[in-house]
Amino acid sequence: MLALEARDLGRRYPRKWGLRNCSFAIPEGKVAGLVGPNGAGKSTLLRLAAGISRATTGEVRVLGEAVRPNCPGGYPKVGYLDQERPLYKHFRVEELLKYGQHLNRQWYPDVARRWLDELHVPVAARFRSLSIGQQAQVALALCLGKQPELLLLDEPAASLDPLARRKLFGALMDTVADRGTTVFLSSHILSELEPVCDYLVILSNSEVQLSGETERILANHRILVGPREQAAPEGGTVIATANAGRQTTLVVRDLAHRSVGWQEIEPTLEEIVLAYLEVGQ
């Protein structure tokens, strides 16, 4: 089954499209990264998937069911972490956990509590008195307490220190391994996602530039270096071209056969992503 599927999904804001012609499918059990520059539509996409926003065109399906706002029974199987961590500032941390318990039929108090205890977040403190990093951890604990089948995390690592960041990704890997949870997380820093993601959605200029499993993306792309005057190789799609002096560097997708006169290099994920983001600009 697909954990998350977007079909021609679009969301128009009064002045411009926040997201357009967005189609991709994430199988269950994947850790999928959502990459794109600021303002590319990452948060819009996640809010649509979480049922907060309403799509202008197309639809988004979560765990086989079409997402719509005001779903009867809410969204018990989805944990959503908003970019701004909007929690009740005057609540104590334990009250926020109680809030989660009261608003979810399926709630695992130990899971949320253990998460905060391990990170030494004081549960008796008021939310607004916590540091930004601790606030992020509380928001995350509220997602994890549901033991959801799909985690939608908007910039989960932002405002975390490197240690907490490593711990976060470690814990995410554990839940994926233990419970088969699907994770869809956004970031504008690829290096953060690269070690954990086995699926990638590249978003730029409100459109999906590329989506697929990271291994296949790596296998499908090549960097070609050759003299500037030389014609582009046949049987492949040139994604990006960069000229430096008398040399030309191409990023090519689905190269059918070896091209004569070009030096072929296996690219890193970062090089591929940057090539797509440049196109989108």
């Binding site: 809010r47 979480a50 049922g51 907060i52 926003s53 309403r54 706002p69 005001n70 779903c71 009867p72 029974g73 809410g74 969204y75 018990p76 989805v78 944990g79 959503y80 908003d82 701004e84 909007p86 929690l87 009740y88 500032k89 005057h90 609540f91 009250e95 109680k98 809030y99 989660g100 009261h102 608003l103 979810n104 039929r105 399926q106 509220l142 549901k146």
Partner: protein
């Protein structure tokens, strides 16, 4: 959901309950002072010529006048209180969640938006209405104690009895709906004040006189009616047209006052005799005092139903929310 709704508005609910309790306390103090002053003025025969100018009576009279002005302040507060409570608890109910984006947290839990809203609304509506119910009991006693017994007149009808619960629920529901629509607490408060004022005015002027067919009393002298005076007019016992009746009335006025002079003590008698001779009587239309509780019930029901309709509208707004 009940706990969550209560926890979110706990502080503001406590402020509201304390405000109502403080007003009731103030009402008691003023009522006892007023009764004491009235009692002393009566027992010391301050109304009689002999005692009228005594120092004691002067002091008591000043004190009683002071009580009266405080009573007027309390009446003013009772007028404003339903709007205040409704706006205080209603306007931020949805608007503040949207303002702080906490709706994104609430709407991604295991509860539908409709359920979320209806629970929040119910808890807050109960919290806003219950203190008002206590206040109604206090006012029923208080209005008698401070000599405001003529409760059918709008000046007293509007703050005595159960209508204030209806008013409060309505302004609360209006505050919630406008907060959800405008997504701005302050604008919602202002809109609630305007909308509440207009609706109250419309019900009082347009609907309340017609809750039941009004009664008419006829008399050769201008009658005082036991209830809410609506309108006065002249009628002909012989079935003459309205124009003719007015002509005859002017005729009598001219005959008696213009010709005979206005100051002579016998003139009112002659004027009345003239009207009787032409078979003209005064007719006063009014709502009797005995309908007080029925009218209170009807008006409370109107505001209560309007509040529920506003809840329905709010559910619709929140369901169709495009964040």
């Amino acid at each position: 959901m009940i706990w969550a709704a209560w926890r979110q508005q706990r502080l503001i609910i406590l402020v509201w309950v304390s405000a109502v309790a403080a007003l009731v306390g103030y009402m008691l103090v003023v009522a006892f002072a007023y009764q004491n002053d009235t009692h002393l003025l009566a027992t010391h025969h301050c109304g009689t010529a002999a005692k009228f100018v005594s120092h004691f009576c002067n002091v008591r009279r000043t004190s009683q006048a002071n009580d009266r002005s405080q009573i007027a302040h309390i009446v003013g507060a009772l007028y404003v209180l339903p709007l205040l409570g409704g706006a205080l608890l209603g306007a931020p109910l949805v608007a503040s969640e949207i303002d702080r984006k906490t709706n994104r947290l609430a709407w991604t839990q295991g509860v539908s938006r409709t359920r979320w809203l209806v629970w929040k609304w119910t808890v807050a509506a109960t919290a806003v209405a219950l203190p008002m119910a206590g206040l109604v009991v206090a006012v029923v006693w208080w209005r008698v104690a401070v000599g405001r017994a003529d409760v059918m007149m709008p000046a007293n009808f509007d703050f005595t009895g159960v209508v204030i619960i209806g008013y409060t629920l309505f302004s609360f529901a209006l505050g919630v709906a406008l907060g959800a629509l405008l997504r701005h607490t302050l604008l919602a408060v202002l809109g609630t004040a305007v909308g509440f004022g207009l609706f109250r005015w419309w019900v009082e002027v347009g609907l309340r006189p017609h809750f039941a067919a009004p009664l008419t009393v006829r008399s050769t002298v201008f009658p005082t009616v036991p209830g809410w005076f609506l309108s006065e007019g002249l009628v002909s016992l012989r079935g003459a047209s309205a124009t003719r009746v007015n002509e005859l009335y002017r005729h009598c006025s001219y005959l008696v006052y213009r010709r005979g002079g206005i100051t002579a003590p016998t003139q009112p008698m002659r004027f009345k005799a003239c009207l009787v001779a032409h078979h003209i009587e005064y007719a006063v239309v009014y709502q009797p005092f005995s309908r007080y509780w029925a009218f209170q019930g009807i008006e409370t029901a109107i505001f209560g139903v309007a509040a529920l309709l506003l809840l329905g509208a709010t559910v619709w707004i929140v369901r169709w929310w495009r964040a």
